[in-house]
């Protein structure tokens, strides 16, 4: 460790100069701002709650209920529901520059254009490509993550060192999509046209006598290589949930089956899988939704080049980079349409669970 500490401390000594007093005062005031915000928040919430406790009479319970529940309802109404409705409305409009009929000054006007934005989304080749790619992500990521997670959970069930084996596959859950993209893009997939291959996979391919692959450029397989990154992250999630469900399957059922002469493969398909089916559905739907929304991977590695774009990234580019907000809104609505079946299914299941309680 001593040999590694030296360069670091040397660097610090030399380079702290770059971090001047201005830097530290900014950081100090930012931290102070966060501390004050938390403190003020807690004080205000407590004061309101205790204030509601001073109310006397029959109305007290009602006042306190309102205090407990209104912050969440207001935040959701103003921050999520209203904006969602507004986005849907915006997706049927266009923003155009027009001279004002009276003054003649050019102003931006919102104009109803019907389905034009959607027609564009499905006719513009690059946008259409992003819709198709999103669909591919939505199908492949849940299938692969759940499949591998299930296999792994079964393989390591009650094995020696199960905890450690679980942690290893679960670990990518703690890594950001950006971090994972760097890992795969710059480390595993790196491709050099000339000279040595420095990317881990290409170096191995080189060693085995295969041609190196330009993973992020070769279309259409590059989309598949990006999908691998999300599968790498989500498999741990699938595995942990499925593993807990497998442990809930009664041991007696497996023992009875094996006495009847069922081999492990038969036991897996006739006992384990049917027993954990509800969990598999939860895992599949959860990962499906996640794979729709992730934009970090594409943005970090390809910015949508070479036919890898997805709706979530395109929506960001339209809405916040190119200033074509109505188009961005239409793409957001398309994402929403993808999840509507899942929303309906989940609400039904939730109501079923509530009824059986």
């Amino acid at each position: 460790m001593t040999s590694t500490e030296v360069p670091l401390s040397v660097n610090r000594g030399l380079q702290m100069a770059g971090l001047d007093a201005q830097f530290w005062s900014t950081q100090g005031s930012n931290l102070l701002l966060a501390a004050i915000a938390i403190l003020a928040f807690l004080v205000v919430v407590s004061l309101i709650m205790f204030g509601a406790d001073l109310v006397r009479g029959a109305i007290r319970d009602k006042v306190q209920l309102v205090v407990l529940i209104s912050p969440v309802l207001l935040l959701l109404a103003i921050g999520l529901i209203w904006p969602a409705i507004d986005t849907i409305w915006l997706s049927f409009n266009d923003v155009v520059e027009q001279p004002d009929p009276v003054t003649g000054i050019y102003t931006t006007v919102t104009q109803f254009v019907g389905l034009d934005n959607y027609v564009f989304a499905f006719s513009d080749p690059t946008t259409l490509r992003s819709v198709i790619n999103t669909f591919v992500w939505m199908v492949l990521v849940p299938a692969l993550s759940t499949g591998i997670g299930l296999a792994y959970a079964v393989f390591i069930d009650r094995a020696k060192g199960e905890k450690i084996l679980k942690s290893l596959v679960f670990m990518p859950m703690a890594i950001s999509f950006v971090g994972a993209s760097v890992i795969w893009g710059a480390i595993m997939y790196d491709y050099n046209q000339v000279g040595n291959q420095t990317g881990t996979i290409n170096a191995v391919l080189d060693l085995l006598g295969f041609n190196p692959v330009n993973f992020l450029v070769d279309s259409p397989w590059n989309t598949f290589y990006l999908i691998v990154i999300l599968v790498w992250i989500q498999t741990g999630f699938a595995m942990v949930i499925i593993s807990a469900a497998i442990k809930g399957v009664p041991v007696e059922m497996n023992e009875a089956a094996s006495l009847d002469g069922a081999n492990p493969w038969q036991r897996f398909w006739s006992i384990t899988v049917p027993s954990i089916r509800p969990t598999l559905v939860v895992v599949l739907t959860t990962i499906t939704i996640a794979s729709l929304k992730v934009y970090d991977i594409v943005r970090t590695l390809t910015q949508g080049r070479n036919g890898t774009d997805i709706v979530a990234n395109k929506m960001y580019v339209f809405g916040f980079v190119e200033g074509r907000e109505p188009l961005g809104a239409a793409l957001a609505v398309i994402l929403f349409l993808f999840v509507i079946p899942i929303v309906i299914y989940n609400v039904r299941s939730l109501n079923k669970v509530k009824e059986t309680r």
Partner: protein
């Protein structure tokens, strides 16, 4: 989004070992019947671990050799160095004359994350208590709606919410409060749902006894709900911490130059593939250290939160 609704209580220990005896018996059977399964498990475990190890090793490759030599070559030459870490943290992340060092973004990540964890946890617990224990008209409808909001893509709210928080209205977009508010809003459905699952399982005797003693909702909340739901609060807090710390989209939309967390410059430089690409692995590793520590130290709570079941909005 749990359909099976596994109990969220402390009873759930995902790594719960069955009794010693059973473990050994099952293990013997496992070893006899499935050497292939063990081999496959080890291969998967390796495939899932190698990339992170490779990242760390690549972060140690000096810039002069980054383009020409893989990390194992540099390792064999004894040229690995920690200097990239010091450079990106304290000197510059990119071109020395224009790009600021990452230390500022590390601080931004902290300043963004801590309040964005505290706010939704507190507000979510209040609402969770109300939905679980205070009967009122429309309670069921509202709860189902919040549950459904979990799966609505947050992209659907971004454009109008930015306008609401932007300069013409609230005027906090591009500053820390804007990012905190956005994160708090997007965390709300998960927070309410996850905490509700837990709070609803507090034995009703305890709450009824408090009511009989004349405790108001406020008193019950402070004296019973908060102390008893600390494990669930811990789960949610870890969840939200990882989510906010690792987030790029919300920070990119609602933040600005003065608030960008680690993910933002890393994503930009990683996509540029320029002469400073050699700095990206060490930066990515720096961004991963704190979440990995939190993750391994508190994995039990994190898994419990996952099992309490939900998707992230």
């Amino acid at each position: 989004m749990s359909i099976t609704m596994p109990p969220a209580g402390p009873a759930v220990t995902p790594d719960a070992e069955p009794t010693r005896k059973k473990t050994r018996a099952a293990q013997a059977k496992e070893n006899l019947t499935s050497p292939w399964a063990t081999a496959a498990a080890i291969i998967i475990a390796l495939l899932w671990t190698i990339p992170t190890v490779a990242l760390f090793m690549t972060a140690l490759v000096p810039g002069s050799r980054y383009r020409t030599d893989a990390w194992w070559t540099v390792l064999l030459d004894g040229d690995l160095t920690f200097s990239n870490f010091g450079y990106v943290l304290f000197r510059s992340f990119g071109d020395n004359s224009t790009a600021p060092p990452l230390l500022g973004n590390v601080m931004n990540s902290i300043v963004v994350t801590v309040p964005a964890v505290v706010f939704p946890v507190v507000l979510g617990l209040m609402a969770a208590y109300a939905f679980a224990w205070i009967p009122f008209k429309g309670s069921n409808f509202l709860f189902v709606m919040i549950f459904a909001l979990q799966v609505v893509p947050l992209q659907l709210a971004l454009i109008p919410l930015l306008r609401i928080l932007g300069p013409e209205n609230v005027g906090v977009a591009g500053q820390f409060p804007g990012v905190w508010i956005a994160h708090t809003i997007f965390a709300m459905p998960l927070a309410v749902f996850l905490l509700h699952n837990f709070v609803a399982q507090i034995p009703s005797d305890i709450l009824e006894a408090a009511r009989v003693d004349g405790a108001s909702h406020t008193q019950t909340f402070f004296r019973i709900i908060i102390p008893l739901s600390l494990p669930a609060v811990a789960s949610l807090a870890i969840f939200q911490f990882l989510w906010v710390w690792n987030d790029l989209l919300v920070s990119a939309v609602f933040g600005g130059n003065k608030t960008y967390p680690l993910t933002y410059p890393i994503s930009n430089l990683a996509g540029a593939y320029g002469e400073f690409a050699y700095l990206v692995p060490s930066a990515a590793f720096i961004s991963m250290i704190i979440p990995l520590i939190v993750f391994f130290a508190l994995q039990r709570y994190f898994v419990r939160g996952l099992l309490a079941g939900s998707t992230k909005g």
